[in-house]
Amino acid sequence: MTERIERELWLPATPEAVWEAVTGDGWLADRVNLDLRPGGDAHFVTSGRIRSGWVEDVSAPDRLSFWWAVDQEPASRVELRIEEHQDSTRLRIVETRPLEVLDLVGVPLPGPGGVTYGPALVAA
């Protein structure tokens, strides 16, 4: 089960410049309101369409993960990673849907053919 989007982009800019661009207004949404700390509120508005969620983890200028969702739609998790390599900066994006996220956090789910996958590694 792969409900996962991955993208990568190399930019001739510093990690700080990329961080500013990806966390500021106009990129993730027209208006971005991110409380950049774990558990902080995340609010995104693009032409009347509102997404809301929360910040899972943040370490400027190289890592940001957050959850977002529109209204009743299932939530998804976005992870942005910014790495400097010589003169350029690599931006990596992964957006995952809860099914895979549940797998990541260790909840075993019924897979194809009734097979159960995903280790139950959740710390009790």
């Binding site: 661009a21 959850w67 992870e79 994006i93 075993p108």
Partner: protein, 134 residues
């Protein structure tokens, strides 16, 4: 309005609830009493978490005698088959914007698999961004 997405966020953001979900997924038709015996929390606390998970649509409960049995229902998490296409297109558009903004002839391509398995319990440095429009 208590929307489903918020309920799912809340349910998944708590490690105890994730542990409960894992235990129920592994052993369907579990009761709160059985769960409380497995975890270092009271039955009362277990019930509170089970209510949150049920409200998020992640659990289905059936009464059997004096006990209520819980079953994991992943359905609310696996809707929308065209999600990949729609979300992929959104990211491609954002990357194009970024490329125009930060310049260069940088190439965009699908990233190869890279490890994200380590979710890491370590919290990042709490920072406050200035100039957030209210």
């Amino acid at each position: 309005m208590e929307d489903r997405a918020s309920a799912v966020f809340g349910a998944l953001s708590d490690p105890t609830r994730r542990a409960l979900l894992a235990a129920i997924a592994e052993h369907p038709a579990t009761t709160a009493t059985e769960l409380a015996a497995q975890l270092p929390i009271s039955r009362q606390a277990v019930l509170k978490h089970l209510n949150a998970l049920t409200n998020a649509g992640l659990l289905d409960r059936t009464r059997s005698g004096r006990e209520v049995r819980y079953k994991f229902t992943p359905a609310p998490l696996s809707e929308a088959v065209d999600w990949m296409t729609a979300v992929g297109a959104e990211w491609d558009e954002r990357l194009a914007v970024l490329r125009r903004q930060l310049g260069g002839a940088a190439a965009t391509r699908r990233a190869s698999a890279w490890p994200t398995r380590s979710r890491g319990g370590a919290a990042g440095t709490p920072i406050q961004r200035g100039g957030i429009p209210k």
